[in-house]
Each structure stands twice: as structure tokens, then as C-alpha cells.
């Protein structure tokens, strides 16, 4: 699966989410690729007004919040 974190450069909250997601993926050995999209125009096209946005395989799972690693794990497992 492909996980995309939407967050412009300089948004530390977004980088934190990226790191946490990568941790979860590594820790549980999920077959997932984590990437970050920083272009504000891409965010607009996805309809994101509050950062970060969290997308799994094209489905926006949540945006504007920063859940714990346990919640992230649950989101990923639901969509495996």
C-alpha cells in the first residue's frame, strides 16, 4: 500500500506525522511505502485546509489532526 502525508515544507506537525507513520510501518513490518507531498497546490486539489492530510491508497483517512501511533496502526490495519 501507499501512504501519503500531505503537508507543506516547514510544517513540523506534518513531519512528525510522517515519522510516526514510518515508525509504525517499520515496527509492524507492514508492506507500505510512506511518502510526503509538500506542494500546497496538491493539498488544495485534495481539498485539505487543515494540515496534515493522511491518505492510504488514494483514500483520505483524516486531516487536521495528529493521532497516536496506536491509532495510526489501526487505520493501516483496517486497510491492509
Amino acid at each position: 500500500m501507499k501512504i501519503t502525508i500531505y503537508g507543506p515544507d516547514g510544517c513540523s506537525n506534518c513531519s512528525t506525522l510522517e515519522d510516526k507513520t514510518q515508525n509504525v510501518v517499520d515496527e509492524h513490518g507492514f508492506d507500505a511505502e510512506v511518502e510526503k507531498e509538500g506542494d500546497p497546490m496538491k493539498l488544495a486539489e485534495k481539498g485539505i485546509m487543515s494540515t496534515p492530510g493522511f491518505e492510504i491508497d488514494g483514500e483520505m483517512v483524516f486531516n487536521g489532526s495528529n493521532p497516536s501511533e496506536a491509532e495510526l496502526k489501526a487505520y493501516i490495519e483496517e486497510r491492509l
Partner: protein, 309 residues
């Protein structure tokens, strides 16, 4: 006060005397004071903000008449999150929703210049009167800039895009979730701002302890001082909270108040990194016009206050 006693204790332990003692005391005391105020306000506002998701605000703004829209956009600029990295998605969301161009530019101008944390920290550092002047003139500059840019017909310089739909259903969060969200946000914001505060207060402390008053009154006063302050302030990037203690020290050394305000505003409102992000969403003609309009407004306000106060 406890913080004052702590700062005195630190300089006593270090065995400092004279100007160095005053400077270190200032550094420790002001850093602690600002950080203490920040922690409280950032958490409280972060919690309240969960009641006003941007989508709701956008829809609310969309139905308003022009003048109401400008005022609301300025107020929204104050309570919106700190970093221009979160301001710009909000700005694009408004543009995408068809909110009039001038109103969106007002939001963009006010957002970095005034925020709730500055409003809480400023009175404690520079006094209530200056805080009020700063806020009112910041709003005035933002509204005027939005209005002028709109009249100049610069809307066409925003890059074309279709604002999509995220498709996320937002459940009404519980109090617990709101509090958690606010504390995550507060932690991020504080750790982002802290370096700027420590450095800003440090620079303020050096000015406070070591820069002779004559240097400030001789070289930094006069009308050219305002223009110079803005010219220096525009490219610099620091958080507004980092520049407050610097300006406070300079005013203490005899810097005219209007010049101090102008410097503070130009540092906060415009910066090179912000232009780099804006470049991704608008053409450089608009960025340049935006910068020139806001900077001119700041110079006028600075000159005016120097004349009146």
C-alpha cells in the same frame, strides 16, 4: 515573582556583576516569562480552535458582504495557526470556495502579523497601549492591502487550481480528543517557537546590557529610520515572539515607538521563506505587489506613530 527570583538566583550563582548581570537576568527572566505565557495560551486557543474547523469558517465567510468579510478575514488571521505552512492551505481553500480575492489577501497579510500568542505576550513586555496600537494598525494594514490589491485587479496572478474534496467525514470530537489535539498542537508550536524566543530575548538582552543609548538615538531615529527598519525587517524570518524582546530593548534605549512597531510588523508579516511558499501558489507579480503594498502600509503607520506619539 517566582520567575524574577529564579533569574536573580541564576545570576547570583554565576557570580555576575554589572552589565553582564543585567543582561543575563533579562535573558533568563524574559525567556521564562514568555514561555510560561505561551504554554497556557497556545493550549487554550488550540482547544477552542477545535470548535471552528477551517471548513466551517470558510463557509461562514462565503456568505458575507464585502466589509464584514474583510473584518472577519482579519480576525480569522489573528486566531489562525502560526506557521505560513498552515496559513496557505487555508488561503487556497478560501480562494477555491470563491471567497472574494481582497478578503483572502487580507487574511494572508494579517495571519503572520498578529496572533493570539503575541496578543498575550505583548502587553507583558511592551505594555497595553503598544499592543493595542500594534493590533489595530496590523488589522488596518491587512484590510487596506486586501482592498488595494483587489482594486488593482491582481486576482489573475493566482495560479489556476480546482479545490478538491477530501471526502473525510469529520465526527464531532469528544472533549478528551479536543484536549489531546490541543496538547499535541501546543507541544509542536512551543518547540517551533522556542528557539526564536531564546535567540530573540538573547539579542534583546545584549542590546539591553551593552548597546549605548546614544547609538540608538543617533542612528535609528528620524523618518529614514522607519524605512530602514522595514527594509531590514522584510527579508528576515523569525517568529513575532522572537522579535518582541528585541524591539522592547531597542525602545528602552530610545528607539522611536513607530520605528519599533514598524520593525516588528515587517519582520512578522513578510519574509523570504514565506515568499518561497507563496511562489508555489501565485505568480511573482502578485507576491511583489503584496509585499510592496504591505511594506508601504507599515512604513506609513511607523511614520504616523512617530509623529503622533
Amino acid at each position: 515573582m517566582v520567575l524574577d527570583q529564579f533569574a536573580t538566583w541564576v545570576v547570583d550563582i554565576l557570580g555576575l556583576t554589572g552589565a553582564l548581570r543585567a543582561a543575563v537576568h533579562f535573558w533568563v527572566y524574559d525567556t521564562l516569562k514568555i514561555v510560561t505565557m505561551l504554554v497556557a495560551i497556545v493550549f487554550v486557543v488550540g482547544y477552542l480552535r477545535t470548535y471552528f474547523p477551517p471548513e466551517k469558517i470558510r463557509d461562514y465567510l462565503a456568505g458575507k458582504r464585502a466589509i464584514t468579510g474583510y473584518v472577519l478575514a482579519a480576525l480569522l488571521g489573528i486566531v489562525s495557526p502560526f506557521c505560513s505552512c498552515s496559513t496557505i492551505p487555508l488561503f487556497l481553500g478560501m480562494v477555491g470556495a470563491g471567497i472574494p480575492f481582497g478578503i483572502t489577501m487580507t487574511f494572508l497579510a494579517v495571519s503572520p502579523m498578529i496572533n493570539e500568542a503575541a496578543l498575550v505576550v505583548l502587553p507583558g513586555v511592551v505594555g497595553v497601549k503598544l499592543t493595542a496600537l500594534y493590533t489595530v494598525s496590523g488589522i488596518a494594514i491587512g484590510m487596506t492591502s486586501g482592498f488595494v490589491l483587489n482594486k488593482a485587479g491582481l486576482e489573475r496572478y493566482i495560479k489556476e487550481f480546482d479545490f478538491g474534496s477530501s471526502g473525510v467525514d469529520i465526527d464531532e470530537p469528544t472533549h478528551r480528543e479536543r484536549a489531546r489535539q490541543a496538547s499535541v498542537e501546543a507541544k509542536e508550536i512551543i518547540s517551533d517557537i522556542l528557539p526564536y524566543v531564546v535567540v530573540g530575548v538573547g539579542v534583546g538582552a545584549i542590546i539591553h546590557g551593552f548597546v549605548p543609548q546614544t547609538l540608538v538615538t543617533e542612528y535609528l531615529s528620524g523618518p529614514l529610520g522607519v524605512v530602514g527598519a522595514v527594509a531590514v525587517g522584510v527579508p528576515i524570518y523569525t517568529n513575532i515572539l522572537g522579535v518582541i524582546p528585541v524591539v522592547d530593548s531597542l525602545i528602552g534605549k530610545g528607539l522611536p515607538v513607530g520605528t519599533g512597531l514598524a520593525f516588528m510588523m515587517s519582520v512578522a508579516a513578510l519574509s523570504l521563506p514565506q515568499f518561497m511558499i507563496l511562489k508555489k501558489v501565485m505568480k511573482k507579480e502578485l507576491i511583489a505587489s503584496f509585499a510592496v503594498t504591505v511594506a508601504t502600509g507599515i512604513v506609513i503607520i511607523g511614520l504616523l506613530f512617530n509623529l503622533l506619539l
